[in-house]
Assembly symmetry: C2
Homo-oligomer: 469 residues x 2
């Protein structure tokens, strides 16, 4: 498929659907909607449209099928796998006008437009005493529709699960233009094939999500947050599995290599932390609940586990301010690394106990191919973000050698019974590694599913599935 220019007649028809003020073809707007947070890519759509509702999206999809023009759904553009990039041009469909947030207190549910900002949704729930746990680092600007499309996770997944565990029902505009519901607004459902879970994590390739029904929990009133410095990075990874084996399920269990902390501290002005030279890594550990005494008891259990390892003095965050500072430090690592160098971010995931083996393997592969990596992430889930730094590496090496190293990293994760992506999705940048996780039969099933939903292959083409199967 080549990059697409839209026929003038089609543009006029699009304008009829969305109205003149919601169609944009100027370079500035196209460039703005041409990128997400994936490396330094920019693939501008030929036009940007901002429909008002599912009905308009349905009409756009029907039109796009007539002209065989690609459509790319665009949310908060915080993605890290290039899911929102208009790699073949065409129509960039921003859902931004569908941003309603309704909290249904009676049923502990929320009804959301796809463009609702995750943090705003969390805060709206909290105001009613309710809790939406999934908590991606980009929550201040990512959209809930994007979270569903990528099956986003975040720091609290270790106790509370990922986005998929909260989605009860979706309204979706199919690539062929029909508007369907995927399920029911119920906590349990054994009624036909699970179209809801097929849509979650499908990265905007099987349908455009126009409404989301989410499950909510009663909110927790208290938490305890501690930062544990380790003199050996691998021991920090080992300690992760040991905490669970002691019977504690923390609400967050984050790993940061020394560089991740250092780069984060340099990036932020107002966070102070003294880290001894010998410290190689930190665990950031949170427990939450409604009873402070219990949380201190759980924290003590965790400390008993920590003391089996070679650690420095533990920092307890005593105030909300300290807690916010530590979370800000953790959330900002990706941005800090990005500000430092061109980089590629891999979203490796393995069974929790295999984390030390993964970390060791990543470093060995880096040495072999001559790249440095900064590693951090959701250790409680076995989800390690590997940021591969370009630094002063030659463009030739970056382009030809590093992908071989990435391939070896993924081969390692799969050999450990893990996979390519824990929460970022495959999108554009990882698709040609999919053969490591799946063979031709599995990929063929996925391709056939795509064909059922999108016979003309116009909805977000060129994503997830490898170029050659």
């Amino acid at each position: 498929m080549d990059t697409t220019t839209l026929p003038q007649q089609m543009i006029a028809q699009l304008e009829n659907i969305v109205g003149q003020s919601f169609l944009f073809s100027d370079t500035a707007t196209r460039t703005h909607y041409g990128h997400d947070e994936t490396e330094d890519y920019n693939f501008p759509p030929s036009v940007v449209v901002k429909p008002a509702n599912a009905q308009e999206i349905s009409e756009i999809m029907k039109l796009a099928n007539i002209y065989k023009i690609p459509v790319v759904p665009i949310g908060g553009r915080t993605g890290l796998s290039g899911g929102a990039l208009s790699i073949y041009g065409g129509i960039g469909l921003s859902t931004e006008r569908l941003n309603s947030i309704t909290i249904d207190e009676k049923n502990l549910q929320a009804i959301l437009g796809p463009a609702a900002i995750t943090q705003q949704f969390q805060e709206a729930a909290l105001e009613k005493g309710l809790f939406y746990p999934p908590d991606p680092s980009s929550r201040g600007s990512c959209t809930i529709g994007g979270n569903v499309a990528e099956n986003a996770g975040g720091a609290r997944a270790v106790k509370y699960g990922v986005t998929k565990d909260y989605v009860l029902n979706l309204e979706v505009v199919l690539p062929t233009g029909e508007i369907i519901r995927t399920g029911a607004n119920t906590l349990k459902n054994s009624t036909g094939y699970n179209l809801t879970q097929l849509m979650v994590g499908s990265e905007g390739t099987l349908g455009i999500i126009t409404q989301i029904v989410m499950k909510l929990l009663p909110k927790n009133t208290h938490n305890v947050l501690m930062l544990v410095p380790f003199f050996k990075a691998e021991q920090a990874c080992e300690a992760v599995a040991a905490i669970f084996r002691a019977g504690v399920v923390p609400s967050a269990l984050e790993f940061m290599e020394r560089d991740a902390i250092d780069w984060g501290l340099r990036f932020l002005d107002n966070v102070n932390l003294n880290v001894k030279d010998e410290v190689q890594a930190h665990l950031l550990i949170e427990v939450d609940g409604n009873y402070p005494d219990i949380l201190f008891a759980e924290a003590e259990k965790i400390m008993n586990v920590m003391e089996q390892f070679d650690i420095d003095e533990v920092l307890y965050a005593d105030t909300e301010e300290q807690k916010n500072a530590l979370w800000k430090l953790r959330r900002t690592v990706a941005e800090a690394v990005k500000s430092n160098s061109i980089y590629k971010e891999e979203d490796t995931v393995v069974p929790r106990y295999e984390l030390p083996t993964l970390l060791k393997g990543v470093k060995a592969i880096g040495e072999k191919y001559g790249f440095k990596s900064v590693c951090y992430g959701h250790a409680g889930d076995g989800n390690l973000h590997v940021n591969i730094i370009k630094g002063d590496m030659s463009d030739d090496n970056w382009k030809n050698e590093v992908p071989k190293g990435i391939r070896e990293i993924f081969e390692l994760t799969v050999s450990l019974k893990g996979t390519l992506s824990g929460e970022h999705g495959i999108g554009y940048v990882q698709k040609n590694y999919m053969d490591i996780a799946f063979d031709k039969k599995q990929l063929g099933l996925m391709k056939a599913i795509k064909g059922i939903f999108d016979p003309n292959n116009i909805l977000n083409p060129g994503k997830i599935l490898p170029d050659v199967i």
Copy 2:
């Protein structure tokens, strides 16, 4: 499709695959494998095979595709929607020899054969200090493969979720004979379309599950169980949503109508309970955790909610014996009803707050069509089992009028944003109600998915999808 007789040559080939002692064509065995717990149906397969492993199952599927003979996977035969019935004869494939249970303490995971008995798995996990929460009433004899196929729930789903929330990865023999893995052994996964969740709840129509990787939790050490008698059944339903709004998430929250308790008590010899004549319904409520003081505090919060309603004296189960007796009473209701009369069991589910409206509607519909119903179930999930009693109703009414009433009940659940089945599946007996929950487009997508996996429509045909779409 007509009932199938197998060619002699094919039987010889099947015998070659599984060995002579694992192929059965005698009437007794065929009848034994011809039923599950669905009403009084018996559809014997033409032959029963008991393969030893995925490889043999793969060869059976390849052979069945050559001869175009239906294959029905058979687990514990405790299903309530007829998923395991060989409605077109053919090969009844019992997975019973694949019953291994391996607990992976290091990763808090289990690796299971599909025929592992759910309760035996739960107990094996508990021995290692781990917890598998899904807890169908039939756990003593149902298999974990059947639980995955039907997306089984049970009493603890209200806090801990259903089977789908624990399945990390599956090994599956596809209808065409290939053996695939659906995902990875990780807690998070955003790598391609979610084949794992597509397989869960697909009722043995998309593949034969040969291995299951399950997530486990650290076990809880304590629980508190109470039985609350209500003078008005609808108030018991209203109290359910009120408990959550008070910020408590019980580990079980079960509703039983007066008749359910009475029939259960008559069925069991050794359970004593004095229930005042005026009591119309009970809630059985459990909270669990590791800290007894907290559980008593949670129980008190629940009591404060209960006192807003018209209740009789609450019974706290003080001993393990009392707890077991109350759970036995609850688990035995379906069997007790069955011993009393021919009945049909509907597995209605709605958003939690709509439960009183559902109960009232079911009773009104019953009056209109002249049937009595016994209602009970997992009220915390909005999942109400409606047992429709034949009693002394004429066969003609049972066959022609009751289905109209059932249709109205499902129309009611869907109008309340609920659906047909919360945890039993659609199988054989509900398939022709599917048009109430889904329109032609949705059903067409499901049928097309079935076609991708099973082009010859030989794996468990005639289930889930309606006869006419």
